[in-house]
């Protein structure tokens, strides 16, 4: 067993990436009540983009964020416009978004498997295996970069929401959609762009994922379950909650991995989900949702 501080550091390093991955998902839920089960599938799509950028053109995975984010932003808006206005008036809207994104996830997974097969892939920049020492603690470089990038992007997201006019419109829509409409927010536009932003965040996560964890198409189910679990813990629709949930569960799973091995790491998240549902179903910062 490793020293507690070391495990804590490893957990926190990963927590940032989980937070980044989950932020797009919770943003989509907050703005338009969409539970995007395809989120991780698109993240893995972005990971493949980063992988081929690296393998074919030697583009560094972190740098590939500049490619994956815009691509996924556009993909996101296209997907939103193609699907969601049609579902908008369904009687059980949230449920419809779940089923529709579930179908979407299957389509993305199948297509990825068809073109890229199920072989485990990983980009291998130097820093993926490098590490440096900070006192007694061993800090893997790749994960440190991932944390740094994640924090920068999350900070940018926060600033966007808090200080820009459009960002305020997004926040308003998250808090009360009708009220936003009546003060002049074009909520359809806000929803479309928010979906794009959420996907762009998935894109950035995908670039980071490409070197942090080996990936293959069907892996997205594990990711989506992890992300959704930590969002439920933090509270659906709460960005603050997603961040805290990500950090807390990343650290917890680091301890579990240290004690029981890496295959049990995802189980930490699932168990956390059941515990949250048992004890405080709305999560830390969520409101009670009615379907």
């Amino acid at each position: 067993m490793t020293n507690v501080l070391q495990v804590l550091v490893l957990g926190l390093l990963l927590g940032g990436v989980y937070a980044l991955m989950a932020s797009g998902l919770t943003l989509m839920f907050g703005v338009m009540r969409v539970v995007n089960l395809a989120h991780a599938a698109f993240t893995i799509l972005a990971a493949y983009i980063a992988f081929y950028a690296f393998t074919l053109f030697q583009v560094d995975p972190v740098v590939s964020i500049l490619i994956t984010m815009p691509i996924m932003f556009v993909v996101g808006m296209v997907v939103y416009i193609a699907l969601f206005p049609r579902i908008e008036n369904s009687p059980k809207y949230v449920e419809m978004t779940v089923l529709a994104t579930f179908a979407l996830a299957l389509i993305v997974e199948g297509t990825l498997t068809y073109f890229f097969t199920g072989i485990f892939r990983s980009t291998r920049p130097d820093y993926a295996t490098d590490s440096f020492f900070w006192g007694d603690l061993f800090v893997p470089k790749g994960q440190l970069w991932a944390l740094a990038v994640s924090l920068v992007l999350l900070l940018a997201l926060w600033a966007f929401l808090k200080f820009t006019k459009f960002g305020n419109a997004v926040r308003a829509t998250m808090q009360n959609r009708t009220a936003a409409e009546i003060v002049g927010v074009n909520v359809r536009q806000v929803s479309t762009v928010s979906f794009g932003v959420g996907m762009a965040l998935a894109g950035a996560s995908g670039s980071l994922l490409s070197y942090l964890f080996p990936f293959f198409p069907a892996r997205h189910w594990q990711w989506v379950a992890i992300l959704l679990s930590l969002i439920v813990l933090g509270g659906l629709g709460s960005l603050k909650g997603a961040f805290i949930g990500a950090m807390a569960l990343a650290v917890a799973s680091a301890f579990v991995t240290d004690r029981f091995g890496p295959t049990w790491s995802p189980v930490t998240f699932y168990l956390a989900l059941f515990i949250v549902l048992l004890v405080r179903p709305q999560g830390l910062f969520g409101k009670v949702v009615r379907i």
């Binding site: 419109a169 409409e181 003060v183 002049g184 074009n186 359809r188």
Partner: protein
């Protein structure tokens, strides 16, 4: 006085349900504040929702200053000058009072105008001025209603529609709200209210409109409409002049 808002033969309902508004013909004159009264289920709130763009009409025309606006989105209508305060609490709960009011000015581009309007609204509602940095979700019901009203006034709308301003409020608080609405007489804002409490609503406006079963029954000056015998029939179900009236 010119017609600010006209509804012609408007039919509307929710989802696949029945028509709530049957054949509404209505004119709101500019500068003549009005209140819509009527029994429960008459379609009063539905009417406002249709004009506000929350609900699309199934048939009929809606003209605002002569321009057809039926089926337009709320944000499009706001830019034309229609502001709406719904029945449900609609503050932004985790934004401060000030942020809420600033959101009210979302459609305005001139920053200095916004600052000036903010001060004006805070003058109108001193309670809000006191709590300008408080989170809107922590305000009392009455304060939230004031906030929603103040927010709607940030754009100096030509038509301000308020759905049941006194709902769930203590009488003194409701008084303040109605007073504020009454003060708007003579400004560029024409007020259109929906009120369950007919007396209260009519006291604050110039013109009364009675709605029942989805159509306009009759209308007239606010101070005399309550004396109209047809009112009793509507609310109490007795036909004027018919056999046994309830013993007084």
């Amino acid at each position: 006085m010119s017609a600010l808002l006209e509804l012609r033969d408007v039919r509307a309902g929710y989802g696949k349900g029945p028509d709530i508004l049957q054949q509404v013909d209505l004119t709101i004159e500019e500068g003549r504040s009005a209140c819509i009264i009527g029994p429960n289920g008459a379609g009063k709130s539905t009417l406002l929702k249709v004009v506000a763009g929350i609900l699309s009409p199934r048939a009929g025309e809606i003209l605002f200053r002569g321009e057809p606006v039926a089926g337009k989105r709320p944000d499009q209508l706001l830019r034309r000058g229609i502001s709406y305060v719904p029945q449900e609490r609609s503050v932004f709960p985790t934004m401060t009072v000030r942020e809420n009011l600033n959101m009210g000015a979302y459609s305005l581009s001139d920053k200095s105008v916004v600052a000036e309007r903010l001060e004006r609204v805070l003058d109108m509602f001193p309670v809000l001025a006191e709590r300008r940095n408080q989170l809107a979700g922590t305000l009392s019901g009455g304060e939230q209603q004031m906030l929603t009203l103040g927010r709607a006034l940030m754009v100096k709308p030509a038509l301000l529609m308020v759905d049941e301003p006194s709902l769930g409020l203590a009488p003194q608080v409701a008084d303040l709200i109605f007073e504020t609405l009454q003060h708007l007489d003579g400004s560029e804002t024409t007020v259109l209210l929906v009120e369950q409490n007919a007396h209260r609503g009519l006291e604050a406006v110039q013109w009364g409109i009675v709605l029942d079963l989805g159509t306009k029954r009759f209308e007239g000056p606010a101070n005399s409409i309550l004396d109209d015998p047809r009112i009793r029939e509507l609310y109490l179900g007795t036909r004027v002049g018919s056999a046994p009236e309830v013993a007084e």
